[in-house]
């Protein structure tokens, strides 16, 4: 099969807020504007930089560095904690601006949205003009310090690539006219979804540049390089055909935590696990699900990891159910080593409504009623007003964070608005 490059008029726009966490802080606190600033998971020297400001990036500071390294590059860099409530509000305002243009607005992450203009009345005005207007509106309605990159193309993959061409505050279009030219100036790992492992695999088959990738035949991609349907998807994606407009249903709920003080003490670990299970359980129940599976993953300080998942016959619903099974799995780890990252998730979800009523009230039904009552109290008076005793004095542990790329959380956020 030889499929040509998509020659339709570009109708997909990818919008990406520049250094979102840092510019939101600079918007809120003007004395921070124009100064190198980083938002870090922890402000201590070992804390990880989550987002550097545009000014900090000029000093070579990058996401993923430690605060210590950021200070080596620029000793007076301002270090601040993330403010999840501020960022969520920025996202909601950002979403509201875009929702005026098309009903098809899809969150990709807390700072990225995709709009499909196909069939909308504004499409005829031209997307470049609309993009300029959106930039202006974001400055007016979200904040004058907030800027964004906009990419326009025929599919989501190329629109994201276009949004990254000129940072910050860029506006680029990729169409059949300049597709080859854009690919010529990029490396394989510049393509979203191609990491160094895929690059190595592509190299083995003589594909060294995005242009080689574009020229590769469907047979080579499908049967040799990717050895799966992914080869066909890449063949379409690279030519500007849409393959990523898929809405995935929710498959699991999970929580993870990078330990401030790394430990192998079971008493500490189970307390953290209890809080993770309480947060996960609140989300599970809030979305009217119960789970038939639980998974635990541990990353140790020596960078080795261990994980285990279990499918169960009896559904997990209360925090206590989740916690008991998570501890059961924790106790099966072959060696107790110092833990640096702790993650728990539940899967095999089933909706709780409608529910078969018991003829005789079981112990499970009683526990469910207690949990519902506790959840209602926490909904009314605030998170963690009533908690299990194991969570006492844990207010400063596992605090509210923005999950990267968690699109489902953003949909929950729109529903709560």
């Amino acid at each position: 099969m030889n499929l040509p490059i998509n020659r339709n008029a570009p109708s997909i726009m990818h919008i990406d807020l520049n250094s979102c966490f840092a510019t939101a802080e600079q918007q809120a606190y003007p004395p921070l504007r124009g100064r190198p600033l980083v938002i870090a998971a922890y402000t201590t020297p070992g804390g990880c930089v989550v987002a550097p400001s545009i000014e900090a990036k000029k000093w070579g500071i990058k996401t993923g560095m430690t605060v210590r390294d950021a200070k080596l590059l620029y000793k007076d860099v301002i270090v601040r904690d993330p403010d999840p409530q501020l960022i969520r509000d920025v996202h909601l305002k950002f979403h509201k601006v875009l929702a005026d243009y098309s009903p098809e607005v899809f969150p990709k992450s807390i700072d990225e949205l995709v709009i499909d203009f196909e069939g909308t009345h504004v499409f005829k005005r031209g997307l470049v003009e609309i993009a300029r207007e959106i930039k202006q509106k974001i400055r007016q309605e979200v904040g004058e310090w907030i800027s964004c990159n906009i990419g326009i193309a025929t599919n989501r993959f190329l629109a994201k690539l276009a949004a990254g061409l000129h940072k910050p505050d860029g506006l680029d279009t990729i169409s059949h006219k300049n597709l080859r030219e854009v690919y010529a100036g990029r490396t394989l790992t510049d393509l979203n979804g191609i990491n160094t492992r895929y690059q190595a695999r592509l190299n083995t088959y003589g594909v060294f540049t995005p242009l080689d990738f574009l020229e590769a035949s469907l047979d080579i991609l499908k049967k040799q390089v990717f050895a799966s349907i992914n080869g066909y998807y890449w063949y379409l994606r690279l030519r500007g055909w849409e393959i990523d407009a898929i809405d995935f249903n929710r498959k699991s709920f999970g929580q993870s935590y990078a330990l401030k003080e790394q430990t192998d003490d079971p008493r500490q670990l189970i307390r953290l696990l209890m809080k993770l299970c309480e947060k996960m359980g609140r989300r599970l129940r809030g979305n009217n699900y119960r789970a038939y599976g639980i998974h635990l993953a541990l990353v140790y300080t020596d960078m080795t990891y261990w994980h285990m998942g279990r499918t169960l016959q009896i559904p997990l619903y209360t925090t206590s159910d989740l916690y008991k099974k998570a501890v059961w799995i924790l106790n099966q780890q072959p060696v107790w080593k110092k833990v640096r990252d702790l993650s728990v998730s539940c899967f095999h979800l089933e909706e709780t409504q409608p529910e078969q009523l018991d003829l005789f009230e079981s112990e499970m039904a009683k526990n469910k009623k207690v949990t519902t009552a506790v959840d209602e109290i926490n909904n009314k008076y605030g998170e963690f007003v009533i908690t299990p005793a194991l969570m006492m004095d844990m207010d400063k542990e596992i605090i509210d964070r923005i999950a990267f790329g968690q699109v489902k959380e953003l949909e929950d956020l729109y529903a709560r608005r």
Binding site: Q27, Y29, V79, N379, Y381, G382, E383
Partner: protein, 77 residues
């Protein structure tokens, strides 16, 4: 804290902050975001004063109290 309630727009906006014996006139609300803690609604205002100092002010709609949560000036680090 001095604030101004506009009955036409039904909005209450901070006007002046009196902090450590000094009055700071608020020039601009740089950002405002509402936050729910349970059923309680809080309005958070980040404001800029005439000497380029930022205050993070929290307005509790239940008690009608203002809380000064943070002060950021040009010496922030």
């Amino acid at each position: 804290m001095r604030s101004f309630y506009d009955r036409n727009t039904n909005r209450e906006l901070p006007q002046e902050v009196i902090w450590q014996g000094r009055t700071y006139k608020i020039n601009q609300v740089a950002y405002h975001w509402p936050v729910r803690r349970g059923r309680k609604l809080l309005h958070i205002f980040s404001v800029v004063t005439d000497n380029n100092t930022s205050f993070k002010l929290v307005y509790d709609t239940e008690t009608l109290y203002w809380i000064l949560e943070e002060v950021i000036d040009e010496f922030a680090n």
